[in-house]
């Protein structure tokens, strides 16, 4: 492939010659008449990452990514950009830790600056019970080599003097931090994977909605789309947010409900907050983007919806959380709020698995945690699609785990998706 390498030197050269040499970041392809070895349904972060790793790790390049709208238009384009690997359960922690390691090398792998910023993430502790629970979590993280640091009250105060330590409904006792956590420029993840995958020969086909699956004798032979039927040796669905709707076209109902998670960003400010703060007791988490806006979120709206918009009670609840913990933000204005549809699964953990239909695979159920999983999800999904075997860090993400009673329930709230 002829792709120009991105570098400071190239930027310099283009600047002096009127930026005429920049090519499209990815090829806008149309479906091939004789189909593909693998079709990925869904041009979000996970779908594009899967295509990239299929090509890069497994040499499978006759691959198409089909996207209903424009790539990166789903939850990868609409989230609070946090990456972390501070999970508790053995079914999850190695997977998210692998994702973190992939993030750490992403820019060099893709030759695209997605601004992976390991600025650290800090979970505040407010009670003795929470303290014990966070010790358990911290040890799970250290057992997995994910790194973590316990900060006592004094250390938290020294680092973040603006936090309401004492006159608060939930006074701060300390914090569990993961220094390797942080944020990533979310849109750039989609673009970077698209560019790298396209470079390796993957066809990225936008404005191509999958309207059905061609299934014969229990085997998937391809997909029906708004651009006609496309044959495929194997189809990997990867459309979190729309999973139930798409899989219903193959006659499959899932252990998933759709809910909206709202997220918020304020007007730009000079640097205020240099890491990610999570205030679990108050349902609030926050970071500051490189452009200066405070980016924050909280709970999902509790009801099922596909409407990509939320309602006021959660807006007020989340802002209250912000004011409770950082009372100096009262005069900061909320600039944009948006809602993304989450695949809320029955135990809060995702799926990367085969289905009962041969050659039809499924990746979804990421709840509100899909962004940080993007690289590992693509990596493991590609592994499964290429080898028929789950990757060793993703063996727990099976669709039949509820039938077997092997839930991966980090929060311990059971089969009620809106509580995860």
């Amino acid at each position: 492939m002829s792709k120009t390498k991105y570098s400071a030197l190239k930027v310099l050269k283009e600047a002096l010659t009127g930026h005429k040499g920049w090519e499209p970041a990815w090829r806008d392809a149309e479906p091939k008449a004789d189909g593909y070895d693998v079709i990925i349904v869904g041009g979000g972060g996970h779908g594009l990452a899967t295509a990239y790793y299929l090509a890069e790790n497994h040499g499978i390049t006759n691959v198409a990514v089909l996207e209903k709208g424009w790539i990166g238009g789903g939850n990868v384009g609409r989230n609070t950009t946090i990456i972390r690997s501070n999970y508790l359960l053995p079914g999850n922690e190695p997977f998210y830790e692998m994702s973190m390691q992939l993030w750490e090398n992403l820019e060099q792998d893709l030759n695209y600056n997605a601004m992976v910023s390991q600025r650290g993430i800090m979970n505040l502790i407010h009670s003795d019970a929470q303290h014990d629970a966070f010790m358990r979590r911290g040890n799970a993280m250290l057992f997995a080599d994910a790194g973590c640091e316990y900060l006592n009250k004094k250390e938290v105060k020294e680092r973040y003097p603006f936090l309401d330590m004492d006159n608060a409904r939930f006074p701060i006792q300390g914090a569990l931090a993961q220094p390797r956590g942080g944020t990533v420029r979310h849109d750039a993840v989609a673009w970077g994977y698209a560019r790298a995958a396209s470079d390796l020969g993957v066809d990225i086909i936008q404005n191509c909605e999958v309207t059905g699956f061609n299934i014969e004798n229990g085997k998937c032979l391809g997909v029906q789309t708004t651009k006609g039927d496309i044959k495929a040796g194997r189809v990997g669905v990867c459309v979190a947010g729309s999973s139930s709707r798409v899989m219903a076209k193959a006659g499959i109902n899932l252990p998933i409900e759709s809910h909206v998670l709202q997220a918020f960003v304020t007007e730009g400010l000079k640097p205020v907050l240099d890491n990610v703060i999570t205030f679990g007791a108050g349902h609030f988490y926050c970071s500051q983007s490189d452009k200066g806006g405070l980016v924050f979120g909280g709970d999902i709206d509790a009801y099922n919806t596909y409407a990509q918009r939320g309602n006021l009670p959660i807006v007020e609840d989340v802002c209250s959380g912000g004011m409770a913990i950082m009372p100096m933000v009262g005069r900061v204005r909320l600039l944009r709020m948006w809602g993304g549809i989450m695949d809320m699964s029955m135990d809060g953990s995702p799926f990367i698995d085969k289905t009962d239909i041969q050659e039809l695979f499924f990746n979804g159920g990421w709840c509100y945690g899909g962004f940080k999983a993007t690289p590992a999800s693509g990596y493991c999904y590609a592994h499964l699609l290429a080898t028929d075997e789950p990757h060793e860090v993703a063996t727990a993400y099976r669709l039949d785990r509820f039938r077997r009673g092997e839930m991966i329930d980090e929060k311990g709230v059971g089969a009620q998706p809106n509580l995860h």
């Binding site: 570098s7 400071a8 930027v11 920049w22 990815w26 806008d28 424009w70 384009g77 053995p90 695209y112 992976v116 600025r119 303290h131 014990d132 629970a133 010790m135 358990r136 979590r137 911290g138 040890n139 799970a140 057992f143 316990y150 006159n167 608060a168 409904r169 939930f170 569990l176 942080g182 420029r185 849109d187 750039a188 673009w191 007007e267 400010l269 000079k270 490189d290 452009k291 200066g292 918009r309 006021l312 007020e316 209250s320 912000g322 004011m323 409770a324 009372p327 009262g330 005069r331 909320l334 600039l335 944009r336 709020m337 077997r404 009673g405 092997e406 329930d409 311990g412 059971g414 089969a415």
Partner: protein, 987 residues
């Protein structure tokens, strides 16, 4: 040199001078001014710096769409960054400071970035800063962060208060311009309850900025009379200075009312009120916003929207320049030239991009048709413009009009997508507006004022009639019909110069072109790649212009190009306003127990549990360390008697003939045959077979039971029981109510507990071991007839009772108990001692009932009945729920009894590994969930989970705590450390 640009007239009060400062300089304006109009009156054109290139910037608009004139207002904790000068009402003492520059505003050191702009093209950062790897966090990102951002936050707690309010109406009219006032008048005359809201502090909309006559009087005067008339009507609520920021489901609208004036005068008053308006119907009359044209160097101070020049002239009596030029692609731009000339301000040129005849004659001005502005000169304020015909025209204000965009934002809040209209060269609301909303006037694309008034008038009637009100028979106001013709003009070729599209975020036509060239073709891609429309103005002036430029670049129609959609909020909203009073201690409600006052008198230390504040321990004189108190409380309770307030446990009263059957289906163990006067322990599962809660249920009479739940699950369990009853078994004769707050309940525990209670229980109630054995329950009376309930249950493992009285006796009861207990050295104990004793006794609590464990895991498999259906039975039988190597609850004690004694912390949170394993995820055997120092045993003990634990008792493993650097050997043992046979309970 005061207010050199001020002329006579306007809607301000030129007899009332107001003093303010800008960057420290004392200036004057008048009552009725905005900060922007007062700055312009003082000839302050340069008011800020742009986000990326730090270009000098001036005031562009006269409304909330302002991209440039954003400032820090106020000082100290009152400082408010990013505040739009164009909507800030001027007040005495206002302090304004420009932001986003290093050094003085006129000599911003960061302006150097402007010279490097060729290197800083759209998306440049995605292509570089990748080497060396570690430099992103350490070097590049901090540099970017410090040069980015806008205003500075004070970092001090917001000293102002914010309120929330709720209002209800039949018809909400948004926007009090000519259309909105007309709609509100007919709607109100129909008898409907009407709310009329407008973001401006003076109602009237553009009528206050224009010279149109309505009904033969000045438009602004007509508006004032209309407002007066509406204000006199009982069924009308007027909300000026109130922005409707969002349209939510089912006729709910979010509104922010600005009350800064009141708050400044009286600090106890809220600065803003966050209103939730519930309405049956809404008429959106939000008017329109003028957009710019992208030509070379179109961002210099002094280049303003044509309509803003008129607003400053007509409403605020400010002539922004002495030699004004107008550049337009539509008829409305000419009105600016006419109004200026009429007020004696020199207009030097009118430039119209269209190939038509001049719209009107402008005295003394050169008229250029089929002509564009290609470039401008002037650093801190515009000095001249260059035209496409080669002419250069010296000018000190350039009024630009690229046409008008309806303010249809709220129509999109339910994800409606606007429709392109070729004739009006703009997007119009589609039919997919939020349910109950209709649109009238310029917001709908009705650009001619006389038509808009009629439309508003009629819409008020139509909506009222729809709701069943009689229609008003008044006539719409009349005004001359003035045509609005427009021809698309997006960008002007600007050669090497940059033509700004988004002023604040410094997005130029070239950036959009580069994005398109790199394959970013969807509007959303362009927006995200270039940051277009993401500044504090949300692209109100930029978005449509950008879409026009994209369409030109890609040689496609605007319809093919598409649009981004608008989301709430319409204007940015202070976070404080959303939080309202929910801050500090008021963030969540606080619940106090019946002994709270008494406990305060005992200097108890409190801990928050759920929403409750409970006594954690009761320090005695001489006790300096928390464990001094807790250890004493445990010992004294176990030796004699202690009293603990357990009111916070959930209490549910159940009556009915089917209650025992109902309980039998809720609990894993049999409940069908609990005798009257007995209490039974029960474990409740979720439907997935995981333990949900445990507690006791007492049968007080044949059809009357009272259940306790854990504190944490009180609400969930009650909800679950209502679900089971109403949804699953609606005909079971069961009636239940939560009585958690109706009863004060105290544990009286210890060998002397019976003796103590016998002193206060009325003599007719025999509570001897024979008459009232372990797990007994009964309704009794105490202290001469006070009704009470007594349960012989024990969490501590001692002979113990729980006694409940109606809450109003709770305070008295603790005092009576303590007095009666004096002879036994009775002490109160708090949640720490409670926790210590329950761990000694091996009772699972919150850390064990963590939503991941089954009855079997808890060691309660033996309790599970196989003879009945109950919630969680079937799914609890799944193979994964029955595996032998599941995490099972057991006890742990350190092999070395002095382990951790000096560490200052317990074993809780440590993970377990086999003796010779290296700790990692794959060798991880489990964890310690609860651990305390046991004053009875003199060493730490713990409860926890380990793989296959039930069959590993006696085995030694390591409790590894990498967080705190501990690694100790522990023995797996029974969780029942204290009195495993339960002999103490039965004495």
């Amino acid at each position: 040199m005061s207010q050199i640009n001020r002329i006579d007239g306007g809607l301000i009060d030129q007899t009332k001078s107001v003093s303010f400062t800008f960057n420290g300089q004392i200036l004057r304006g008048y009552e009725g001014d905005t900060l922007a109009s007062a700055l312009l009156a003082n000839n302050k054109h340069l008011v800020g710096r742009s986000f990326k290139y730090h270009r000098p910037r001036g005031i562009v608009t006269a409304g909330s769409e302002e991209p440039n004139a954003i400032m820090e207002i106020g000082r100290g904790a009152y400082k408010e960054p990013n505040t739009r000068a164009t909507i800030t009402q001027l007040y005495n003492g206002l302090e304004a400071n420009s932001q986003n520059h290093r050094g003085p505003l006129g000599f911003d050191f960061m302006a150097i970035t402007d010279f490097f702009s060729p290197f800083l093209s759209a998306g440049f950062y995605y292509k570089t800063f990748m080497w060396p790897k570690a430099f992103w966090e350490k070097v590049y990102e901090p540099a970017i962060r410090h040069s980015a951002g806008l205003g500075k936050l004070s970092m001090l707690e917001d000293p102002d208060t914010y309120d929330k309010g709720f209002r209800y109406c039949d018809i909400l009219v948004i926007g009090a311009g000519a259309t909105g006032l007309s709609a509100a008048l007919t709607a109100a005359e129909s008898g409907a309850r009407v709310i009329l809201a407008d973001e401006d502090f003076v109602m009237g909309g553009r009528l206050n900025s224009e010279t149109n006559e309505i009904n033969g009087i000045a438009g602004s005067e007509w508006a004032k009379q209309a407002v007066t008339k509406l204000a006199a009507m009982d069924n009308v609520t007027l909300m000026a200075d109130t922005t409707i920021f969002g349209a939510y489901d089912h006729g709910i609208y979010g509104a922010i009312e600005n009350r800064a004036d009141e708050a400044r005068a009286d600090s106890s008053k809220p600065r803003q009120v966050n209103w939730r308006i519930y309405t049956k119907r809404t008429i959106l009359c939000a008017g329109a916003t003028e957009r710019a044209i992208a030509f070379g160097n179109n961002d210099r101070p002094g280049i303003m929207m044509a309509s803003a020049v008129r607003t400053y002239l007509n409403r605020f009596a400010v002539a922004t320049g002495q030699r004004v030029s107008v550049y337009t692609n539509n008829d409305d731009g000419w009105q600016t030239a006419k109004d200026l000339t009429d007020k004696g301000v020199k207009v030097v040129a009118v430039i119209d991009s269209r190939s038509i005849d001049p719209v009107m004659s402008i005295e003394g001005a050169e008229i250029f048709m089929s002509t564009d502005v290609t470039d401008t000169k002037g650093r801190r304020v515009i000095k001249s413009i260059m035209l496409s015909n080669g002419k250069t025209i010296p000018t000190d204000t350039l009024a630009v009009s690229g046409g008008w965009n309806p303010n249809l934002h709220l129509t999109c809040h339910h994800r409606g997508i606007p429709k392109w209209n070729e004739e009006l060269v703009t997007f119009l609301p589609d039919s997919s507006v939020p349910v109950g909303m209709s649109v009238a006037g310029r917001a709908k694309g009705t650009m001619v004022l006389s038509d808009a008034i009629v439309e508003g008038h009629n819409e008020g009637n139509v909506v009222a009639a729809d709701l069943g009100f009689k229609t008003s028979d008044s006539k719409p106001a009349t005004t001359a019909s003035v045509a609005y013709n427009v021809t698309a003009k997006w960008g002007v070729p600007s050669g090497k110069n940059r033509a700004w599209v988004d002023y604040q975020n410094d997005v130029t036509a070239k950036d959009i072109k580069l994005a398109n060239q790199e394959g970013f073709k969807s509007v959303e891609h362009v927006k995200r790649y270039t940051t277009l429309g993401m500044a504090t103005d949300q692209g109100k002036t930029a978005n449509v212009l950008a879409i026009g430029i994209m369409a030109d670049n890609m040689d496609q129609t605007i319809e093919e190009t598409g649009t981004t959609i608008f989301r709430p909020p319409y204007n940015p909203v202070a976070m404080g306003a959303f939080a309202g009073r929910r801050r500090g201690m008021e963030f969540y409600p606080t619940r106090y127990t019946p002994t709270h006052k008494w406990s305060e008198e005992q200097n108890a230390i409190f801990v928050e549990v759920g929403m409750w504040y409970r006594s954690q321990w009761f320090p005695q004189p001489g006790e300096t360390f928390w464990r001094d108190s807790v250890d004493r409380e445990v010992r004294q309770t176990r030796e004699s008697v202690g009293i603990c307030d357990v009111t916070t446990l959930g209490k549910i009263d159940l009556k009915g003939t089917d209650v025992s059957e109902f309980l039998n289906r809720l609990y894993v163990n049999a409940f069908a045959k609990v005798p009257v006067g007995k209490t039974r322990y029960g474990l409740m599962l979720r439907e997935d077979g995981i333990a949900m809660d445990d507690g006791t249920t007492a049968r007080l009479s044949e059809n009357h039971f009272v259940m306790t739940t854990t504190t944490a699950n009180a609400v969930n369990v009650y909800r679950h029981m209502q679900f089971c009853h109403q949804c699953l078994w609606p005909d079971l004769d069961v009636h239940m109510i939560s009585v958690t707050e109706q009863y004060a309940q105290y544990a009286v525990a210890g060998p002397n507990s019976r003796k103590l209670l016998q002193k206060i229980v009325d003599p007719e109630h025999d509570i001897s071991n024979e008459a009232f054995p372990y797990m007994g329950a009964g309704e009794i009376s105490i202290c001469d007839g006070i009704p009470a309930r007594l349960f012989r249950i024990s969490f501590s493992g001692e002979l113990a009772f729980e006694i409940a009285v109606p809450t109003r006796y709770g305070d008295s009861l603790i005092r009576v108990l303590m007095e009666a207990g004096e002879e036994f050295n009775a002490i109160p104990y708090g949640t720490e001692a409670l926790g210590a004793m329950r761990i000694e006794k091996g009772h699972a609590a919150g850390p064990e009932l963590n939503g991941q464990t089954s009855a079997y895991d808890l060691g309660m498999g033996g309790m599970v009945s196989g003879k009945k259906d109950f919630i969680g039975y079937t799914l609890g039988l799944r193979e994964g729920m029955q595996r032998d190597d599941r995490m099972q609850m057991v006890g742990f004690k350190p092999v070395n009894k002095s382990a951790l004694l000096d560490a200052g912390h317990s074993m809780a949170g440590a993970h377990l590994v086999n003796l010779r394993d290296k700790p990692d995820t794959f060798t991880d055997q489990g964890w310690i969930s609860s651990s305390i120092y046991s004053p009875i045993f003199g060493h730490y003990i713990g409860l926890g989970y380990i793989k296959g634990g039930h069959s590993r008792k006696g085995e030694t493993v390591r409790a590894v705590d990498l967080v705190r650097g501990q690694d100790i050997e522990v023995e797996i043992c029974s969780p029942h450390f204290y009195d495993p046979q339960g002999e103490c309970l039965r004495v």
